[in-house]
């Protein structure tokens, strides 16, 4: 296989405490090696930044609701789809890009892995088919389980071993990666047109509370010793005053400790926490306020938590989530088209377009709150940059977020020149307090690579330039020794990597995608648990009585998974 040497780049790799050191990175047979032969192809990275490839912990990139978003928003593509390039297929879509555009854009950003954040177990084949068609990047997908009838019953009865046997079966059947929790209980209540707003609202019939569901999921996750923790989207998303529900949810970690062999230290990952840090009792500018400090104070004090931001990018985008009642609420606020799907026995989803208009107070405040979270985070290994793509904005806006975080000047420019109510936003949030704060490139690497990979339990696969690791590495047009004075340069450089290697294969060379046919992987967790006759019987019974598909046709067939890469976790050993 070809050898490469990335010469003279300025390397930032928090996993090795390397902070802007000039060094060469050698690649051979798809892996980082200490040295290569003189035949190695040279990538001249002098005056450039070299980082491990990015890892996205939360992104809606494949599956039924993403596709519904693509289908019912043809206007999202209109006049926004570049012509087919020399080495690429057609790319379509702005906020909900086609699978090919998704893969190319992640590669342009220098990302090697993206986690599909919400996979309805029943519709796992849809997710895997789209993963197959997404080029370059490796992907995993988390089955949504916090409104699953089996688990609600097991949790109600306090049967964690049974819950574990079922969750293990689901992970294997759907080729899933981890346990995802979306509006615990509330989405099931939405099956009846209801919701759970606090963590103590009971789910109809199942007679269980969101608090019991979240603790049940954490207990199950640690029982199964999974690489990633429970991945939580809490109740009451997007409502003024919801930070109390968020804190209540976060505090549920206090009785748990991590149990795994992957170096993961958290027991709960709370996703897109920006949407969960609201104070006040209405969206009016004299009531709505940021509670990012209150929430981040707790996150900073609690080592068992990781979070991602869900940064609003001030774009017209498409919201899509398994939080059915929230999307219904949203369509009543903005009167834009709404789509809803309820998935039998499992979950639901809703989709509504949304315009984060900088001319509105609320979009400005949401924008500020996201940045506050990233800036307040003390331990950058536990706070990650996301947009909950495409809910707060499309993922390919990450470089713009980096710009806002790396440069106070860029933030102030938005407040002064883009936001109509910049002063009110400063009044009602903490963004003014943080006016001088700027992230370093080292912190950025923690928040987009090293920390993320660790939280996912994938620190040995992604996020590091260590010798022996898969050679996923990005080179950007930024000189850490001579940082650009114009913040726009950050956005430009991170948006179009100079070079990008995926598993040792040069995917982007001199800003152009040159190869997209490398064997990308589907990373999943093969969970092995003791035989459980009770759960086997329950599964057969439910498929016989309640599912519209047969048990034999439920699990994803082997040939349906593209280059599966199983992480085996055997708790019977």
């Amino acid at each position: 296989m070809t050898e490469y040497i990335i010469k003279n780049g300025c390397v930032v790799d928090p996993t090795q405490n390397i902070n802007a050191q000039k060094m060469d990175i050698c690649i051979k047979d798809g892996k980082f090696v200490d040295k290569v032969s003189s035949a190695a192809k040279v990538i001249d990275a002098s005056g450039k930044l070299v980082m491990a490839a990015g890892v996205d912990i939360h992104s809606h990139v494949a599956g039924p609701k993403v596709d519904m978003g693509r289908l019912f928003r043809p206007e999202d593509k209109l006049f926004r789809s570049p012509m087919r390039g020399k080495n690429t297929r057609m790319e379509m879509g702005f906020s909900v890009p086609s699978t090919t555009k998704t893969g190319y854009d992640y590669a342009r950003l220098g990302f090697a892995f993206a986690m599909e954040a919400a996979m309805p177990p029943l519709e796992a084949p849809h997710v895997h088919e789209e993963i197959r068609d997404t080029p370059i990047i490796d992907e995993g997908a988390m089955p949504v389980l916090a409104n699953n009838w089996f688990l609600l019953e097991y949790f109600k009865n306090g049967e964690i071993e049974n819950a574990g046997a079922y969750a293990s079966w689901i992970l294997n059947a759907t080729r899933g990666f981890g346990l995802k929790c979306v509006n615990p209980g509330g989405t099931e209540a939405w099956g009846w047109g209801l919701n759970c707003i606090t963590i103590h609202d009971k789910v109809p019939y199942f007679d269980i509370t969101p608090a019991e569901i979240v603790t049940g999921l954490m207990a199950t996750n640690e029982y199964l010793r999974l690489p990633h923790s429970v991945h939580v989207h809490a109740n009451n998303l997007g409502n003024p005053g919801n930070y109390e529900t968020t804190l209540d949810t976060l505090k549920l970690v206090e009785g748990f400790s991590p149990n795994n062999d992957f170096g993961r230290e958290q027991v709960m990952h709370h996703t897109h926490i920006q949407f969960h840090c609201y104070g006040g009792d209405s969206f009016k500018s004299d009531s709505f306020e940021s509670k990012s400090k209150e929430v981040m104070d707790y996150v900073n004090s609690q080592k068992k938590l990781t979070v991602d931001v869900g940064q609003v990018t001030l774009d017209e985008t498409t919201t899509m989530t398994a939080d059915g009642p929230f999307e219904y609420h949203l369509t009543h606020m903005n009167h834009l088209k709404w789509s809803n799907v309820d998935v039998e026995l499992e979950t639901a989803a809703g989709i509504v377009p949304f315009v984060y208009d900088p001319k509105t107070f609320i979009a400005g405040a949401q924008w500020a709150i996201g940045l506050e979270i990233a800036l307040f985070a003390k331990d950058k290994d536990r706070c990650y940059i996301t947009t909950d793509h495409p809910n707060a904005g499309p993922f390919w806006r990450y470089p713009r977020i980096y710009k806002w975080l790396l440069s106070a000047k860029a933030r102030n420019d938005v407040i002064e020149n883009q936001l109509k109510y910049g002063n009110k936003v400063i009044d009602r949030t903490y963004i003014g307090e943080l006016a001088d704060k700027e992230l370093t490139l080292y912190e950025l690497a923690q928040m987009t690579r090293a920390g993320v990979a660790k939280a996912l339990g994938l620190k040995d696969m992604y996020g590091s330039l260590k010798t022996g690791h898969a050679a996923n590495v990005a080179v950007y047009d930024i000189d850490p020794e001579n940082l650009p004075s114009d913040p726009e340069q950050y956005e430009k450089a991170f948006g179009s990597s100079f070079a990008f290697f995926k598993d040792g294969i040069l995917a982007v060379e001199n800003h152009d995608i040159v190869n997209y046919s490398m064997p990308k992987k589907t990373v999943w967790v093969n969970s092995i648990v003791p035989e459980n006759k009770q759960v086997e019987r329950d599964i057969r019974d439910k498929f016989l009585h309640s599912y519209t598909v047969q048990l034999d046709n439920y699990a994803v067939f082997d040939e349906h998974v593209h280059n599966p890469y199983a992480i085996k976790v055997d708790i019977t050993q």
Binding site: W192, G193, L194, Y205, D207
Partner: protein
Amino acid sequence: MAMSTMYPKYSTKMENDTVIMEQRLLKKVSHLVLNTTKCTGCGICSEVCPKEAIVLGLVGAVRRGAVKDEAAISVDPAKCSYCGVCTILCPFDALEVRVDGEPSLPIKEQEGFPEYDFTAEIDENKCVRCTTCSEACPRDAIVRDIPVYEGEVADGAKRQTALDAETTLVVDKEKCNVCGICASLCPALKIKRIPFTAEKVGSAGEVVWDKSLCDACQVCATACPEHAIAVERVVKEGSKLAGKVTIDKETCVTCSWCEKVCPEEAVTIKKFFDGEIVFNADKCPGGCSTCVDICPCNAIYLPSPVPALQLKKDSIEPTIAVNADLCILCGACVNACPSEDVITIRRSGIHVKGPETDLFKSIAAKLCIPRSSKIREDTFGQVELKPLE
């Protein structure tokens, strides 16, 4: 079976709503006539038949109209002795024995068998002639002999005739200027005007009132520009609609719907069977509702779903339920139920009047065998129950 063409000759024929079983002798013809519109498939005839000549068929399908040209019961005209026990004990008046074309029940006339004793009465003094019982009655047994008023049909009796009242209308002649407004508004008022004449220009005359058309609505009094009209009505104490509401004892099956819904507690029903009915909803397969459809008393219902907000694991509505107060223990539901052990009927007593003969006693004992339905029956096409205890 030699000489099978000779007398007695037996036949069965179906004519519209009746099935006629015939035994023809040289000089005498006996008929057992089944009215299929009245038959509910309750099976009492089959249980009481001294000759075991009656069997139950596709009760649910026939009663629901899914099977045409078939009755819920079938009688073997050759086994039948035309004794009339079935006729006497059919609660639905669906069977009749005729000899030489005339209704005939010698067993009753000769005091060889008792008949049902039950109470179905409406206290005329308490009854206010409302419509509740007649609408609730599942058997159309309420005879509501009340005038039809214009509220129900346009040419019905005038509504003011419904009240026993004294109405007066006084026109103050001093004030009345014979303007004619009152007459233009109401058919009960006419103006008898003195013809206009150039000789003496002015408006004069009188207002004439037809008491029978006045319903004391007060429109004329209010519309009169001179306040010249006074209308007064005094309703007599205890005024009620004319007529009478009674129960047709031939049709009544003592379900007691009328008693339960009567707002004046004017109805007394005493049933002809004692006993109990028990539904075991856990064994009901759901999605069938045959029992609901065929119950002659509308005593069986599909319980309403619990609203989501109140939904708990143990609060799911049962698949099926009965209001035992409305049940007459006829047994049609047990005969029609395709499942096993869902419905159990235990009759503990039969109220009769007349001679309780040995024949009756042996029949009563059969009626009192507790029973449930059965999934696997031995004879195809026939209802066979599962005796209990």
